[in-house]
């Protein structure tokens, strides 16, 4: 039996780099548990950080991917009923990982291994692994020389920095203070480095961390006259003892007068500027929480009575460009602050190499402070031209020595003319079309996946990583040879092979379609695709024969815009796609000192701060301000580039009325159109305000007795039993007789899938299955097709929709010709809609303070707390329980819960029509859009028919991540209970089974619950009354959901909003409903709620399971 510890400690790289999966291949569950015990013992003893981390990831992977499969096939029924101890879960939430592990291991020891405990152990090992790595990066960032002193300084009197005298002298002529302005290019990654610039990777595998990074000037094609360094940071002294920060692109400015506010990152849109001020040492991190005065600190820095103004600008480059705009801005701000305080000796001009490295170190610190996490190449724009950035093994004298194999800080080698001739650079510029496809996605989970796969040495991924290093060498060689076409071939191969082998999610349907269309249009003149970073869909590069570039720019804009229009309901686009103009910047970051008449901030500064200043009496302004306004006036009159600024200022001060009203009408029209019940809405608002309903009131009374479902009352169909064949035969017969229809619930907003982006999850081409990206709907139809073919029947498939999803699904299905589905396919449009409300402070506090919360890593938690405080202020200021209308109209509405979706079938006539066509229809299979394993399984259908229940719900054994209620005996009655109705959080942890929300329905029995018959379906008023009557008996839950608000250039804010819903599973609480419960295999019942689950879903056999159930059209 292999010893997995040796895989970690082996001196021989071939053995050390062996894949864990291969080593586990021949091991039984018992062997694996034995290996786990050894690995756990090893990681507790080992003093080497990376050995510990690798052992933690091995343990995670065994419990996540290898053990569950073996446990499922092993006959260990007792173990499978294990419950996850709530105390362990609480430890996990509080980041007490060791304590959590001890709790989970104790249960495993006492009750034997189980799927549930393995899920908890996997989560704990995974988080502890990342925590250990994050702690190490944090320690390294703090211990970089030049950063350390800032953590020691705790009092203004000890502030060792002084502003350079050049900045403190007002101009003798006009009294204005000089402005120090830093202009910085952004960076692009010419090779896509395989995410090897992630700190964790670079610090363990410095030999593999290599990036070819290019500094570029940028402009938006058709908008900006010429490319220029897009990032600017300006600093000057002001005669007020405060810190004035302004972000011109985000339209935010603030006068900060106390220290606590400087550390309040998420209070406004100035978090990045604050992080830079801290990381640059102007307000050193050590002073946080000291209670000292900011004015005193500034007096020390700039002189008594003085303060500083810092202004940032990124020339409206959209977010998600994959050009590291945010990190570059952080670096530019850090740089200007360091120049101003003499920490960089060069006041103006470019920086010297040691100064650039210092800026990098501080930018890394700023990233950590702000809770974000760029890679180490992201400040590449500080350096000039093209450079190779490489990981460096830690040597004696480095703080990392003896702790990690690599240093935190990489090495930059600027390419000389021999490496890439000027002519080659010019040709590259003439061939490359840079674009932003409009998608802005969270790449955080991707970076975790990459780290995890590296540490596990997953065979394919490891091989891919090695091949990427070869591609980098090939690109370097092509650069030396001046062969741009070869570069295009290499970057395309890089994207299609290693990048997607490591992270399949790096590509998506939108990108693939674009590439395909470009290839079709340009043929051999299309030299290649170039993946810029993180994920595709945002910033991307297309390489063309130079003579085609102009046409390609125009054509790509059209293609992307058309692609966005076609997919905007399916994929989360944050903005309209754009094409960039770019030029390689051979200077790197540079600063200038603007004095006298030239000492003006960028024009947008005056349109942002001007209105408030212009409303003040002139004599109340400081002489410097008055002089500045005079200069501003002169510039507007005389300088061509300032033309129009005064007009803009005028427009802002005297806005034209009315366009907003159109949006208001549109919302009203939508409400009218979708049957909004104003009376009910007002009642909900009144109840919310009075505290009669709310998150706390969702719960069952504290006296409710919640017990786990007795084993005898749940039929275990997770493995074939003796009667399986009989049930399957009964089910097949029913299928053949046309007794079943499938109902897919697709009315919801899928909030978790896109954090409230308001796209239709059902249409998301979420994964490549059977060789192509497939949408959820396509997959469900493919399962129905297979079931129908096997049974030799036409299986009707219904898709429920809502105000949000109906039109896009209808249009999409029409465009896709119903995905070739042979059976009847009908949409069931929704008949109810709610209007979202601004949440109450009480509910926000309940959710964030009363409910158990996952504590984040120290700095991220600080940022989150700050954001939550800001949102509580927002709710109070916007008006608790007032209508949420400050967004696109569709984003203000909400579906009212899936309880309504079956009654809608009765109301909208879809069921009646289907019954008219197929009178033999007797059963419905109802499932969520994200329950991808649910299909018309004949055995389950047979079981349902055999037992004659009204409803048969499928449940699965609970894992740690399965939150939201389960199967319980509530006051003696077996029923499904929602998580938000459970009186105590820990009650959920006593429930073995989680609800998959897949439900088999006996149609006539269900109609009877509504006191209806088939014949009544034609009687609309009677149906409506029946639904209203039953709805009144269903509990109404108040929930808080996330909704995205998009603004500016790809910016997105996420707000919590209140909505109400009624849920289907509550039918099981009605005494007249005969509900039964069957346990099904996990792969069948699990739901895909979050894109971050996709990678695990692909790796743990779930995707393969779904593929086996599908019959996609050829």
């Amino acid at each position: 039996m292999p010893d997995l510890v040796q895989l970690i400690t082996a001196a021989d790289p071939a053995r050390r780099n062996q894949a864990l999966a291969a080593a586990c291949a021949g091991l039984s569950a018992g062997d694996l548990l034995d290996q786990c015990a050894r690995l756990d013992d090893f990681r507790r003893r080992s003093e080497n950080l990376y050995e510990r981390v690798r052992a933690l990831f091995f343990l995670y992977a065994i419990h996540r991917f290898h053990l569950p499969e073996r446990l499922a096939s092993a006959a260990a029924p007792a173990g499978r009923r294990s419950l996850i101890p709530f105390a362990g879960y609480e430890h996990l939430l509080q980041r007490r990982f060791e304590e959590a592990l001890d709790q989970f291991l104790a249960v495993q020891q006492a009750e034997g291994p189980s799927d549930a405990i393995s899920s908890a152990l996997a989560a704990a090992y995974h988080r502890l692994g990342f925590q250990t790595l994050a702690d190490q990066v944090r320690r390294s960032v703090r211990s970089v020389r030049g950063n350390q002193w800032m953590f020691r300084m705790g009092h203004p009197a000890d502030h060792p920095l002084r502003l350079r005298p050049e900045l403190c002298q007002p101009h003798p002529g006009d009294g204005t203070y000089p402005i120090l302005r830093e202009c910085t290019p952004v960076r692009m990654d010419l090779t896509h480095c395989g995410w090897s610039d992630i700190f964790f990777l670079g610090m363990d595998y410095p030999e593999g961390a290599k990036v070819l990074n290019v500094s570029i000037d940028l402009g938006v094609h058709g908008r900006d006259p010429a490319p220029r360094p897009p990032v600017e940071a300006s600093l000057r002294v002001i005669e007020e003892p405060l810190l004035r920060l302004a972000s011109l692109d985000l339209g935010a400015a603030a006068d900060i007068t106390n220290l606590a506010e400087v550390f309040d990152f998420a209070k406004d849109y100035l978090g990045l500027l604050k992080a830079a001020v801290i990381a640059a040492g102007l307000v050193p991190p050590g002073i946080e929480g000291s209670g000292q005065s900011l004015a005193e600190l500034l007096a020390r820095l700039a002189g008594r009575g003085r303060g500083l103004e810092i202004v940032s600008r990124v020339n409206n480059i959209p977010k998600g460009s994959r050009l590291a705009v945010s990190t570059t801005l952080l670096a530019a701000l850090v740089s200007v602050c360091m120049r101003a305080t003499g920490q960089a000796a060069s006041l103006t001009g470019p920086l010297q190499e040691h100064e650039r490295r210092l800026v990098l170190a501080r930018a890394l610190l700023g990233e950590w402070l702000g809770g974000s996490g760029g890679g180490w190449q992201d400040s590449g724009g500080v350096w000039p031209g093209m450079k190779l950035i490489e990981g460096v093994p830690a040597g004696e004298g480095d703080p990392e020595f003896g702790v990690s194999r690599g240093r935190l800080m990489p090495r930059h080698r600027i390419l000389a003319a021999a490496d890439a001739a000027l002519e080659t650079r010019r040709r590259l510029q003439e061939s490359l079309v840079l674009v932003h496809g409009g998608m802005a996605q969270n790449v955080g989970p991707i970076l975790e996946m990459v780290t995890e796969k590296y540490l596990l040495r997953c065979a394919d991924e490891w091989q891919a990583r090695q091949s990427m290093l070869g591609i980098l060498d090939e690109i370097l060689a092509a650069l030396r040879a001046g062969d741009v076409r070869r570069i295009g071939a290499a970057t395309t191969r890089n994207f299609q092979q290693p990048i997607q082998t490591i992270i399949p999610w790096a590509t998506n349907y939108f990108t693939e379609s674009l590439i395909q269309q470009v290839r079709a249009e340009f043929g051999p003149a299309f030299w290649g695709f170039w993946m810029l970073g993180g994920m595709s869909g945002g910033g991307m590069g297309f390489i063309f024969a130079p003579e085609q570039k102009a046409r390609a720019q125009t054509h790509l804009q059209e293609l992307m815009s058309a692609g966005k229009r076609a997919l905007q309901h399916a994929l989360p686009f944050a903005m309209e796609p754009v094409v960039y103009d770019f030029a390689i910047n051979e200077r790197g970051t540079e600063a200038v000192l603007l004095e006298g008449a030239a000492a003006l901030m960028p024009p947008a500064y005056y349109t942002l701060l001007g209105p408030a200043l212009l409303r003040q009496e002139r004599h109340t302004l400081t002489p410097a301000r008055r002089a500045e306004w005079d200069q501003f006036g002169a510039a507007c009159r005389a300088r061509p580039e300032w033309r129009g600024v005064a007009q803009t200022l005028f427009e802002i001060m005297l806005p034209r009325g009315q366009p907003e009203a159109a949006a208001g009408q549109s919302l009203a029209a939508l409400l009218e159109q979708h049957g909004f019940d104003r009376l009910q809405h007002e009642q909900i608002r009144a109840d919310l305000k009075e505290g009669r309903i709310g998150l706390a009131q969702n719960r069952l009374p504290a006296s409710a007795v919640i017990e786990d479902a007795p084993a005898a009352e749940v039929a275990d169909l997770s493995a074939p039993g003796p009667a399986a064949a009989r049930w399957a035969e009964r089910g097949r017969a029913a299928l053949r007789n046309g007794e079943l229809a499938v109902v897919t619930l697709a009315a919801g907003a899928g909030s978790r899938w896109t954090q409230g982006a308001g796209v239709v999850k059902a249409l998301h081409p979420f994964c490549r299955l059977a060789g192509r990206h497939r949408t959820f709907i396509e997959t469900h139809l493919a399962k129905s097709r297979r079931a129908a073919r096997q049974a030799g029947c036409a299986l009707p498939h219904l898709i429920t929709t809502s105000y949000l999803t109906h039109a896009p699904i209808a249009e999409f299905l029409a465009r896709q010709h119903h995905y070739g589905y042979e059976g009847p396919l009908h949409l069931s449009p929704g008949r109810a809609v709610g209007l979202r409300l601004v949440p109450t402070v009480r509910d926000l506090r309940f959710m964030w303070e009363e409910m158990p919360q996952q504590l984040l890593d120290e700095q991220q938690q600080k940022v989150r707390d700050s954001l939550r405080q800001a949102l509580i202020h927002w709710a109070a200021a916007a008006g608790e329980a007032s209508d949420y209308t400050d967004n696109l109209p569709l984003q203000c509405l909400h579906p009212v819960g899936h309880w309504y979706e079956v009654p809608n079938l009765l109301r909208n006539g879809v069921l009646a029509r289907l019954l008219a066509e197929r009178p033999g229809l007797q059963y419905l299979l109802l499932h969520n859009i994200d329950t991808l394993g649910a299909d018309a399984d004949p055995a389950l259908l047979g079981w349902h028919i055999d037992h004659g229940a009204c409803l048969t719900f499928e449940v699965i054994p609970r894992r740690l991540e399965d939150r939201g209620g389960g199967l319980a005996r509530v006051n003696g009655q077996l029923r499904l209970v929602e998580g938000l109705a459970l009186p105590r959080e820990e009650a959920e942890f006593a429930l073995t089974y989680y609800n998959s929300n897949t439900c088999w329905i006996h149609l006539d029995k269900l109609l009877a619950v509504f006191r209806l018959t088939r014949a009544d379906l034609a009687d609309a008023p009677r149906v409506a009354a029946a639904i209203r009557s039953l709805a009144a008996r269903m509990p109404t839950y108040i929930t808080l959901k996330e909704v995205k608000k998009r603004w500016g250039h790809g910016q997105e804010d996420i707000f919590p909003v209140t909505q109400f819903e009624k849920l289907w599973v509550d039918l099981t609480a009605l005494p007249e409903v005969d509900a039964r419960f069957v346990a099904v295999p996990r792969l069948r019942g699990q739901q895909l709620k979050d894109p971050a689950q996709l990678d695990g879903w692909l790796r743990d056999g779930s995707a393969a399971y779904v593929e086996r159930l599908c019959d996609y059209p050829a």
Partner: protein, 281 residues
């Protein structure tokens, strides 16, 4: 190496009256600060002293110096062009000899038997090289001093081989270039205001004066170059320096002198009485 000459700089526009202030010295005698400094120099066995002043100041300084005996010269710095320039003004006085360099706005109180200047001159004599007196100083004071980086000299307590010299470094630079093993975190070796320098410094300053016609010519760059050219040590002395130019600097220096001298008891009881009365109010 024998040190027979000393230069005291007192030409800074802000410090020109400081050496003329009177204090009660350790021996209970009222003296000017300049005279106390001259006695410090003479105790180190140096008789040839040059004071660099602003033009027009020598008569007042001569009066303030009293009659120290030996040879006392005054040289005027024609315009205030920085510390390095002031030292360079005394180049002819120094000639080809090593010299002790002091600043006119600092007083020194030794913690041991030997005075600070004497300790420094003895080190320079024994090691036959330039030596700057240094004191471990907290990073918050870096904006006020020149600082050095280097490593300890094996077997010589409190002596360091200087590798880097920086004038008023930021702590960021200091952390990267001036960390000296053995010092507490956040402490750096900052100049004590007292050096024994070799004639090479004057040539370096001459070159700098020729190159830089600006208004400020500091000494530290020349010392940084000195460290690259020849052996140059830093020495921690037994004693403290007192900058009489800062707020309450003169008072602090006076208290330090008094508490180290024969009137210690009297001053202490005066202080206690002062404190007690303050407490009773």
């Amino acid at each position: 190496m024998e040190i027979k000459k000393a230069i005291i700089t007192a030409a800074g526009p802000a410090q020109r009256t400081l050496p003329l202030q009177t204090l009660v010295d350790r021996d209970g005698v009222t003296k000017t600060a300049l005279r106390i400094l001259i006695e410090e120099v003479r105790a180190a066995g140096i008789e040839e002293i040059c004071v660099v002043t602003c033009p027009g100041d020598p008569p007042a300084y001569a009066a303030a110096a009293g009659d120290p005996g030996g040879r006392l010269r005054f040289i005027a710095q024609p315009a205030p062009r920085g510390y390095g320039h002031a030292v360079w003004c005394a180049r002819e006085f120094a000639g080809e000899s090593p010299f002790l360099l002091l600043v006119g706005d600092h007083l020194y109180v030794s913690g041991g038997r030997k005075r600070a200047a004497q300790q420094l001159v003895e080190i320079a004599g024994a090691e036959n090289c330039a030596v700057s007196a240094v004191q471990a100083t907290h990073e918050s004071k870096l904006p006020y001093y020149g600082a050095v980086g280097g490593r300890r000299v094996a077997g010589r307590k409190g002596q360091y081989e200087i590798a880097e010299v920086m004038e008023k470094p930021t702590p960021t630079e200091a952390e990267q270039r001036l960390i000296v093993p053995g010092l507490r975190a956040g402490y750096y070796l900052c100049f004590f205001g007292m050096h024994v320098l070799t004639p090479a410094v004057m040539s370096l300053l001459s070159a700098e004066v020729e190159r830089n016609a600006g208004p400020n010519l500091p000494l530290s760059p020349a010392l940084a170059q000195l460290a690259q050219r020849e052996r140059y040590l830093a020495g921690e002395l037994e004693g403290r320096r007192y900058d009489i130019g800062v707020r309450y600097g003169l008072l602090t220096a006076q208290l330090a002198l008094a508490l180290a001298g024969q009137d210690r008891e009297e001053v202490l009881s005066g202080l206690v009485e002062l404190l007690a009365r303050r407490e009773m109010k």
